[in-house]
Assembly symmetry: C2
Homo-oligomer: 310 residues x 2
């Protein structure tokens, strides 16, 4: 749906700010708790959490993360799910979200309503109260930035650092072709999987894949090592070649390191009992730098998604 309208009466500016905020609270419905626990005061008030906290922020921008071919409901869902995927990658669960909206006065009310209804449906599904936000007019722009607060489930946050030489490299789901297949807005953030992994002490490090394995995996790779990856082990999405599987962005899958002392076959058995419907692949392991076998995928040969391009 085209977010912009030529009809002044269909635009958000026709509503005025106060009516717009009232409308948004209506569109969010049960996803928006009453003030001061939600929208309507200078800050949202949140209960004291039970454990350490997690904080992340991710935006969606018209012309970059979505366009008129994507439905506004999908845009709202995607905005929340991108952030949930970051939370999953630490082993966390969500506690609250705030959203900053920047929009041109010509944005249509109908687009915005569907965007918020999509966000609200997703927020209810994942039990994330949307507790606040801000709207600002910005000419020619339609962008939303969501900040997600969460807490660790098992009392442990799994970071990107902590992998060691000899650790196994695992990845969930399938890789590549996210944009063409619609996976980039239909994906399911791996929240239960991330929480399960965080509870296992042999999971040393974890992250989510947003820019492609080739660009993201180096952040997980311990100093002095390289990732030995068997090409056949890469779970490629249908129609994807090796390049697509490692360099396309927006996979929103978890990649993580498991102790080299763990039996990968037994690990996969335990996984299948917990998540019979989520595919898990062992890609290989971290080996001493300079000792990659000739068969290994050479990640440095593939460029991931580059954000700032003139």
């Amino acid at each position: 749906m085209n977010p912009f309208t030529r009809q002044a009466r269909d635009s958000v500016s026709a509503l005025g700010e106060e009516n717009l905020i009232r409308a948004i609270r209506g569109w969010l419905g049960l996803a928006s708790p009453p003030a001061p626990f939600g929208i309507g005061d200078d800050c949202a008030v949140l209960p004291r959490p039970r454990s350490q906290q997690l904080l992340t922020v991710d935006p969606v921008v018209f012309g970059r993360h979505f366009d008129a071919r994507v439905t506004p409901r999908e845009v709202g869902e995607k905005l929340l799910k991108r952030n949930l995927s970051d939370l999953a990658a630490m082993g966390g669960r969500p506690t609250a979200a705030v959203i900053a909206l920047m929009l041109d006065a010509r944005v249509s009310r109908r687009w915005l309503e569907q965007f918020y209804r999509g966000l609200a449906a997703c927020a209810r599904r994942y039990r994330v109260p949307v507790v606040g936000g801000d709207i600002v007019q910005a000419d020619g722009v339609l962008a939303a930035s969501l900040t997600l607060l969460g807490e660790t489930v098992s009392g442990r946050a799994v970071t990107r650092t902590g992998a060691r030489r000899g650790d196994w490299i695992f990845v969930t789901g399938q890789l590549g072709g996210s944009l063409g297949s619609g996976h980039h807005h239909r994906f399911t953030p791996r929240l239960p999987e991330g929480a399960w992994l965080a509870a296992r002490r042999d999971v040393h490090a974890m992250m989510d894949l947003s820019d492609g394995l080739a660009k993201d995996l180096p952040a997980l790779t311990p100093a002095g090592t390289e990732a030995e990856i068997a090409p056949a082990a890469l779970p490629r999405r249908r129609g994807c070649d090796l390049r697509a599987a490692v360099s396309d962005g927006e996979d929103y899958e978890l990649v993580f390191a498991v102790s080299g002392r763990t039996d990968p076959g037994k690990f996969k058995q335990a996984w299948r009992r917990a998540f019979p419907r989520t595919r898990l692949s062992c890609l290989g392991r971290f080996v001493r730098a300079g000792t990659l076998s000739p068969q290994s995928v050479r990640l440095e040969a593939y460029q991931g998604y580059e954000h700032l391009v003139r």
Copy 2:
């Protein structure tokens, strides 16, 4: 300073994403703790807070909240202080900030560096760790959205609701002329004042003034009452008439309701001992609707700042 450059080599796109993130961490310096407590992982990890939490978000957008006449350092400071003012209005103190940046590839590196250095200086002054963020390219845009997490100081969050008929209406500082005087970026968020007020049980409700008293005060006004305000009691900034004092935006002062049983003279005495340099004015009180004296300021006659204008 003009944020945009015609020289490709001076632009952020010449840096590339990874170098840009590294540069930002350098510019933030001590304001940015190491990962996973700061930038560099999927989420920032924060310690369990001591009390209930506060969450707020506020953006700055080029062409709306600032332009080329404002220095980038001032923009960075203003972005953080706008959010600190919201926190002050609840009686809170800051614990962490994340920032989402949307920028055109032609934004100059020098502008961005000064922006982050201004933000960092302000973050150190107010002891707010900047723990994460996101950067996204967006054509023709320069906008930053900051989410601020905080906690209550006295175990109590002062909301906008809670004022009663007969309560006194107080305001800090001076009103009006914020844009012309430079107050809109030179203001000091009223954090110690807000915390002091939250610790007093006779302070029933509080908010910060961002859109002008005429537009903001109704949110504090109890149902069935009106604000009886003596025109001479309004602390007008030099050169401001009554209209400017009640309808200009960006005052970033606290307006709050104090129990009608409190002696306003004694209240001001206690205030002067605590904050000898912060002006405090008693504007009047909330009276039964329909009983305003003929001398009272009629707020509904003045329009505050309207955000969405086509």
